[in-house]
């Protein structure tokens, strides 16, 4: 892998895919971003990001769950791969270590 680091939106989306479990598809992620992270991101932008993440090998997808309100079209459901989980872990570790180095008083 050439680039192992994660962008901020990428990280958020990875986390949301984990929290959304079975229901992690484009529109749902976009909605969750609005509700939980208070960020307005268009579906197109979400699709762009997940495509990129998939290319990087952090997530994989399966097709399923066609509903009537989607005009009978299937959803692309995402799950994290092992390297996706690893990269999230790593990103958290970096932040935790950094936070640990800051004395409590320094941040208010």
């Amino acid at each position: 892998m050439e680039k192992e680091y994660l962008g901020e939106l990428e990280e958020l989306i990875l986390l949301l895919i984990l929290t959304l479990k079975e229901e992690a598809y484009g529109l749902a992620i976009s909605k969750a971003l609005k509700e939980r992270a208070n960020r307005t991101v268009t579906i197109g932008a979400v699709h762009g990001t997940v495509t990129r993440l998939e290319k990087k090998g952090f997530i994989e997808s399966t097709l399923g769950g066609a509903t009537e309100e989607r005009g009978g079209r299937r959803k692309r459901l995402f799950t994290l791969t092992a390297s996706g989980k690893k990269v999230l872990q790593k990103s958290r570790d970096v932040k935790v270590t950094l936070w640990a180095q800051i004395p409590e008083l320094a941040v208010k």
Binding site: G26, I43, G44, T51, R52, T67, R70, R74, R76
Partner: protein
């Protein structure tokens, strides 16, 4: 719930199906439809906005369909690869690539700057439909004098209707700035006005802002303004129908009947307003006369026919009438007419053409040299490609694609740079050129295409010649780079050196002319006309009045402490001496046309003219209109006088041989015509004339004070007139403004040429040193020092410059000698000039190469030996 709102937009789906990857399409469309359902909470006006915003957000590169063909090896896919590889190549060889780009951009830019100018000159007056059918009348009163632009109808009573080939005639009186005023709402405006016949628009196709020019000048109370002038006078308000007053030697009230479009920059004629000529019976300015002819008009035949027609009038027994094509007036400008704002100069057009060609040549050489270097450094890559299975044709396309890359980038850059530099350029050159955006783009594109195209030919030739085996071994790089590059660099430098020598010669010539002694004490001389109103009548009363005024003026001026001296005489340098037929008495020589000027007794004091022999006119010994003359040295030599005892001259007009003129003195030569002219024989006559202009010499530092004093005095004598004055210093200064301007342009282009050549040399050095890195490492190990290596390398580059210098010197010497023959007084082309040029080019070359050579020479040999 409104169901119709919920059906997904067909258009949106069509766009997305066209754009997005097939395997993603299903979920995208699904998500979108679901999203649309969610939108029902939003206000209805917001729904389509949000929906379409989301649709467009899908149009991003990562979701786009792969261009079909990448998977298969079809031409389109290859083309993409070529583009990729050519841009990679660009960044890999950043230095050479950006230098090539730079040379291309600068070359095209400079070429186009010159071209724009030349084009404007070539297109001069071409926008008049009938321009080739317009001729101007000219005449001379005796065979010795020069032609003057006189109206044949007015002076010789010519009737043009008797000639079937002449369709119409036009007279124009031109009042320039300061001679005419336009008054509206109590505000005075200066301007250049032309008083024209109603046929004006048959001759010249100036367009009206709106409406037809036809019949506009037939109404005697109409006036037509130019676009700029209308803006200046009336601002944003509509000028049509407004009344204005005109004041010159006539006064009148006119109504604005039309506003012309902006006068194009390729019009040699310019004016601020047009007045119908028949609105008054008399206009004091001498008019020019034009005739419009039909296609079967033969100018030679016509000139022969009319030549002696003026002799019917007993006053003009020797007169010769003629006509001259309007188109020749711009370049040859035989007359100094205020109607024409601009004058062309055929010699600077040809010089500029030469510069354009040189710049183009250098650009071509530089770019080709750089590209060959670049190409040779990738011969191995080409070889590998051939082994894998690329045909020569494939490689050819690859070269072409990389050319296309350069072409696009440099065209855009050159065009933007041109747009940025253009206003500055025109103000330096003091020219007016209207921009033509399409033409600019086209011409820049053509230049760049041809340069890249020609350079591609070399590379393609190389491509087809080279065998795979050769390409794969390094043999080629080592053998061919220096040879070709050395040759190109040498040619480039020879051309550049020719240009440098040219510029230095041009500059030293201009400098020589500017600093040349006029032979006059020209400081603080004010020239002013008091009594020169042309429409004064000759009545007894008027003459007496003038005499009184004249005495009053002289007294007033002499009493002013700021004024040193006053003389009546013609202002040298700017006014043109009048020719007449003179001959030496007592010799067999024929009458020849020689110049004379009228002076008074103080003329020599005021201008600091030195006397060599005899005496100047003096108040005690001479009176006006006696047959005595003072001549200059040139005249003394011309007529081979040995002393002044019996020196006499005869004039055909004034008395002939029965009543000769005695030469009483000889003055040292001084410039009385344009400074570039050789000083010709001159005869000074003492003719006092009240109407003659005054020359006033002011005290040091009191010039402007004296001018305002003279203005007051002028207002006293001519309450209605407009005060004008000239300073001799300005006139001397103005003699060479054009030369100075042209010099600046030459200098700029020479610097560009030198820069381009340096770029070529720099890259040559870059590659050569790279190629020899190993060799230098070995030399250093064997004991060579930094200095030895540096001088060895430098000399190998300087060799081509020395060769170029040797080739260029005689060539430039020949050309510049030819050029200098245009001048009566020439600066020498001294040896120092070539030394200077040599030094400049070597210095610039050293700067260009020492960056590389010093770097290599100081390298640790361990590094250079490891280098591969």
């Amino acid at each position: 719930m409104n169901h119709s709102k919920q059906t997904p937009s067909r258009l949106a789906e069509a766009i997305l199906s066209w754009f997005c990857k097939g395997n993603l399409l299903e979920e995208i469309l699904g998500d979108l439809q679901e999203y649309q359902k969610d939108l029902v909470d939003k206000p209805s006006w917001k729904r389509p906005i949000l929906y379409w915003f989301n649709v467009f957000q899908f149009l991003r590169p990562s979701l786009a369909k792969q261009l079909s063909g990448t998977k298969k090896l079809n031409n389109y896919g290859m083309l993409k690869i070529y583009f990729k590889s050519s841009s990679r190549n660009f960044f890999k060889h950043r230095l050479i690539s950006s230098m090539s780009l730079l040379s291309l951009v600068f070359g095209a830019l400079c070429f186009h700057l010159v071209y724009v100018w030349i084009n404007n000159e070539d297109e001069m007056d071409r926008f008049h439909k009938n321009v080739d059918a317009i001729h101007m009348s000219q005449a001379k009163f005796n065979p010795q004098s020069d032609f003057e632009p006189l109206s044949l109808q007015m002076f010789f009573g010519m009737d043009f209707t008797q000639f079937t080939h002449i369709r119409s005639a036009l007279m124009i009186h031109t009042y320039y700035q300061g001679q005419i005023e336009l008054i509206t709402e109590n505000r005075d405006f200066n301007g250049k006005g032309c008083v024209v016949d109603s046929t004006f628009f048959e001759f010249f196709d100036f367009k009206l802002n709106n409406g037809e020019t036809k019949n506009l000048l037939t109404n005697p109370s109409n006036i037509i303004l130019s676009h700029e002038y209308a803006e200046k006078v009336f601002g944003d308000t509509n000028p049509i129908g407004r009344t204005v007053q005109i004041r010159c030697d006539q006064t009148g009230t006119y109504q604005v009947a039309g506003v012309l479009e902006k006068i194009p920059s390729n019009s040699s004629i310019s004016f601020d307003f047009l007045i119908p000529r028949h609105s008054r019976n008399f206009w004091a300015k001498i008019p020019q006369e034009f005739i419009l002819v039909d296609s079967s008009f033969d100018p030679i035949d016509f000139n022969n026919q009319i030549a002696e027609m003026g002799r019917a009038n007993s006053r003009h027994k020797e007169s010769i009438l003629s006509s001259i094509p309007f188109t020749s007036l711009y370049l040859e400008h035989p007359f100094d007419l205020s109607l024409f704002e601009k004058q062309g100069d055929s010699s600077s057009i040809s010089t500029m053409k030469f510069i354009a060609v040189v710049i183009l040549l250098i650009t071509l050489l530089c770019f080709t040299g750089l590209q060959i270097t670049l190409h040779l450094s990738s011969t191995r890559k080409m070889g590998v490609k051939r082994v894998i299975g690329a045909t020569k044709w494939n490689l050819f396309v690859e070269v072409m694609v990389s050319r296309l890359h350069y072409l696009l980038i440099s065209t855009v850059m050159a065009y933007l740079l041109f747009s940025w530099i253009f206003p500055w350029y025109t103000s330096i050159m003091e020219i007016q050129i209207d921009r033509n955006y399409m033409m600019d783009l086209k011409s820049i594109l053509i230049v760049i295409t041809s340069v890249t195209g020609i350079s591609a030919i070399f590379i393609v030739a190389q491509l087809f010649k080279v065998e795979v085996k050769e390409a794969l071994t390094n043999k080629l790089i080592f053998l061919q780079v220096p040879k070709i590059q050395r040759l190109l660099t040498t040619i480039q430098y020879s051309v550049t050196i020719v240009l440098i020598v040219g510029t230095v010669v041009v500059f030293s010539q201009f400098n020589f002319m500017i600093n040349k002694d006029t032979g006059l004490d020209h400081e603080r001389i004010i020239s002013v006309d008091f009594l020169d109103m042309e429409n004064r009548d000759d009545s007894e009363e008027e003459v007496q009045n003038q005499q009184k005024n004249f005495q009053y003026l002289v007294n007033q001026m002499m009493q002013n402490p700021d004024i040193v001296d006053v003389s009546q005489g013609e202002l040298p340098i700017s006014s043109i001496a009048s020719p007449a037929s003179w001959k030496r008495m007592g010799s067999d020589s024929e009458y020849t046309s020689q110049n004379h000027m009228t002076v008074d007794t103080r003329y020599d004091d005021i201008l600091g003219i030195e006397l060599i022999q005899g005496r100047f006119f003096s108040d005690s010994l001479d009176r006006s209109r006696q047959n005595k003359v003072v001549i200059n040295e040139a005249a003394y030599k011309y007529w081979e006088f040995s002393d002044l005892k019996d020196a006499k001259l005869a004039n055909t007009h004034w008395g002939g041989e029965e009543d000769p003129w005695r030469v009483i003195g000889v003055v040292k030569d001084y410039h009385y015509e344009h400074l570039s002219n050789e000083i010709k024989p001159l005869i000074l006559l003492f003719l006092q004339d009240n109407e003659e202009g005054f020359l006033v010499k002011a005290q040091p530092g009191k010039v402007m004070k004296s001018v305002s004093f003279l203005e007051q005095l002028y207002k006293e004598v001519n309450p209605k007139g407009i005060f004008e004055y000239d300073l001799l210093e300005d006139k001397v200064e103005a003699q060479y403004t054009k030369e100075k301007r042209v010099g600046k342009v030459y200098l700029a282009f020479t610097v560009v040429a030198l820069l381009l050549s340096s770029i070529g040399l720099f890259t040559f050095a870059f590659h050569e040193t790279k190629r020899r890195t190993k060799e230098i490492g070995i030399r250093k190990i064997n004991g060579a020092g930094v200095y030895q290596i540096f001088s060895m390398l430098s000399f190998s580059f300087l060799k081509s410059i020395i060769i170029a210098f040797v080739v260029a010197c005689p060539v430039s010497w020949y050309f510049m000698n030819k050029w200098l023959e245009n001048f009566a007084y020439r600066a020498d082309i001294g040896w120092w000039l070539f030394v200077l040029t040599g030094l400049i080019s070597v210095l610039v070359a050293m700067i260009a190469i020492s960056w590389q050579t010093l770097d290599v020479a100081r390298k640790n040999p361990v590094e250079s030996l490891r280098y591969e």
